[in-house]
């Protein structure tokens, strides 16, 4: 088991190097002088030269890269000149909020998608299946920011049931404050989730042991709960892990709509400020989250199904 984990970690190294290179090079590909653009041409040449030295932009490229990696490993991404705070702090604050939002959204999405996918799979090629599929297509085409706005205006402003911005204090308050954003994320993810889950459940339904359970005379509900649901756990984890990038993309938009200070809204804000060092750090952290979640999913399979290790 330990060997499996170590092997999995080793596989991540080349990807991590590539990911860090892409994030690192971003600032160097800016056409013109990034510092001039960042300060919108208002700085004197002296200031520009000082900031160049401060960010290490005057050193050879490979030295800069090694410094970037070394510092990033320690959680140090330098100081944001535009926002006047350490970037590591900005990222740390946002990380907690974003992970909370993503987890909350994923849970709501699973609660929404599993019953619908199951209903569609059990009534394959009949009315429930077709309606779920059409609903999925319509949901897939809905812009997430518009879903967010509609929920915000209806449940937040008109009915006043939920707060429309912020994160709140304390775990319970977070649940309350983030309900509408998480629901938006859930509605955004659900169509993708339903479609993949439906086909996974169809696979389970066609398996031999379901046939055996049926032959033994177990009731359909009992088969569903005891056999199908338990075996649908792996597909749920897989689909969530595969779509973590999709979920994070949604978080960028949802956080901006609901003014939640997570990584996504920070990214949009930093791009607006032309704060390149922060954009670099955020890009790296986003990629690391995706890779980390996929690693966790692999470990998750291992706990659910020990056979995975042997493969």
């Amino acid at each position: 088991m330990l060997r499996f984990v170590i092997g999995r970690l080793m596989q991540m190294i080349p990807v991590l190097i590539g990911v860090s290179l892409v994030s690192f090079l971003a600032i160097h590909l800016v056409p013109g002088d990034p510092i001039q653009i960042m300060l919108m041409g208002r700085a004197t040449p002296d200031t520009v030269a000082r900031i160049h030295a401060e960010l290490g932009l005057d050193r050879p490229l490979w030295q800069q890269y090694l410094a970037f990696i070394g510092n990033a490993l320690m959680g140090d991404f330098g100081r944001s000149i535009v926002q006047k705070t350490p970037i590591g702090g900005l990222i740390g604050d946002g990380l907690l909020v974003s992970l909370y939002l993503i987890a909350y959204g994923a849970v709501l999405s699973v609660l929404l998608a599993v019953p619908l996918a199951m209903w569609a799979a059990m009534r394959r090629d009949r009315l429930p299946d077709h309606s779920v599929r059409l609903l999925g297509m319509i949901g897939f085409a809905m812009p997430p920011f518009w879903i967010g706005l509609v929920l915000m205006v209806f449940f937040g402003l008109k009915l006043g049931w939920f707060p429309i911005r912020g994160f709140g204090d304390g775990a319970l308050d977070h649940l309350y404050h983030l309900f509408l954003p998480a629901l938006t994320m859930a509605l955004f993810l659900a169509p993708v989730l339903i479609q993949s889950l439906r086909s996974s459940i169809l696979d389970v339904l066609e398996a031999d042991y379901i046939e055996v359970a049926r032959a033994k005379g177990l009731s359909p509900t009992r088969i569903l709960v005891k056999h199908v649901l338990r075996n649908a756990a792996i597909p749920v984890i897989t689909v969530l892990a595969v779509n973590i990038g999709w979920l994070l993309s949604g978080a960028v938009i949802v956080e901006t709509v609901f003014t939640i200070h997570g990584l996504g809204s920070q990214l949009v804000r930093s791009v607006g400020f032309r704060d390149y060092p922060t954009v670099q750090g955020l890009a790296l952290v986003f990629a690391v989250i995706v890779m980390g979640v996929n690693l966790l999913a692999d470990l998750g399979y291992m706990i659910i199904d020990r056979r995975v290790v042997g493969r």
Binding site: I253, V271, F286
Partner: protein, 291 residues
């Protein structure tokens, strides 16, 4: 030319009729819906008497009526006219950002899958890195580097969008390259390019075409999302996402201001998904997962 018709292929009309006869309901509905949307965009100047940019301060936030079927926005502009003209922007950008990456994504994936070796290894590493970033984050980072605007969106999607097609085409090629017809072509001494493009490609392109329909939807959502974030099409251009962003503060007193452009996005996306679904059935394969 009757003789040609007798000997050669049946005339186009009857071939078309036979083709449509085997279409599923979703393909028929999706294609018709999409054709209507396309026509609405093309005929926009003749379908509405209003200029999409003209601000009439005597008719601010009017609810839908006969004169303004979709109502007017906070600047007194006719929303129907803006939505119709928006079709031109969203469909054009959506189409280009879908078809261009498809072309070289499939090309790279097919070639790399057939030839294998170092090229394939390099491609796989690039794909691994590209997939590690959330799609929108990578696009936003590229736009940050290049500066906001439609040109940056094109470049960003051209840089990132091909990866999914390359992945699909490569996976299919790994299966196709060991099939009998490819081996037969190889035994006959055909060159590798002829085998890849003449023989294997027609068999592996279907999955990419099916995926491209979802990709088209995603690209329209991406465009409108970026416009919403202020990184895409700038107001006052009537791009659907920009329209929603511009008028979002008026949603409460005037429900129609964002509903109409949003409905246009949803309708277009649904039409494309229906076509994708129908094409998958037509090609006789299960619909590919979206991501």
């Amino acid at each position: 030319m009757a003789a040609v018709d007798v000997i050669g292929a049946p005339p186009l009309r009857s071939r078309l009729r036979r083709e449509i006869a085997v279409w599923s309901t979703s393909l028929k509905v999706g294609t018709s819906l999409f054709a209507v949307i396309l026509l609405a965009g093309l005929l926009a100047p003749w379908l509405t008497p209003y200029d999409p940019l003209y601000q009439d301060y005597n008719s601010i936030l009017l609810s839908p009526s006969l004169a303004h079927p979709f109502g007017t926005d906070m600047n007194g502009r006719d929303i129907l006219a803006r939505t119709l003209f928006g079709t031109r922007i969203d469909l054009r950008i959506g189409f280009i950002t879908t078809i261009v990456p498809l072309l070289y994504g499939v090309f790279l994936g097919a070639v790399s899958g057939y030839l294998g070796g170092k090229l394939d290894m390099v491609l796989m590493r690039i794909l691994d890195v590209a997939i590690a970033f959330p799609f929108l984050v990578l696009i936003i980072v590229i736009i940050a580097v290049l500066g906001p605007g439609v040109h940056s969106i094109y470049i960003a999607v051209f840089l990132v969008g091909w990866t999914m097609y390359a992945r699909l085409a490569r996976a299919e090629m790994l299966v196709e390259r060991n099939k009998d017809y490819v081996l037969a072509a190889r035994v006959l001494g055909f060159g590798r390019w002829r085998i890849i493009f003449g023989h294997a490609l027609p068999n592996l392109i279907n999955s990419s075409i099916v995926f491209s329909m979802s990709d088209f939807v995603l690209n329209i959502l991406l465009l409108s999302g970026l416009s919403f974030l202020g990184l895409g099409v700038a107001p006052p251009a009537p791009e659907w996402g920009a329209m929603i962003a511009e008028s979002k503060d008026y949603m409460r007193q005037a429900w129609w201001v964002t509903t109409m452009p949003a409905a246009a996005i949803v309708l277009t996306g649904t039409a494309l998904s229906l076509i994708g679904d129908g094409l998958a059935q037509r090609f006789g394969q299960n619909r590919r997962s979206l991501m």
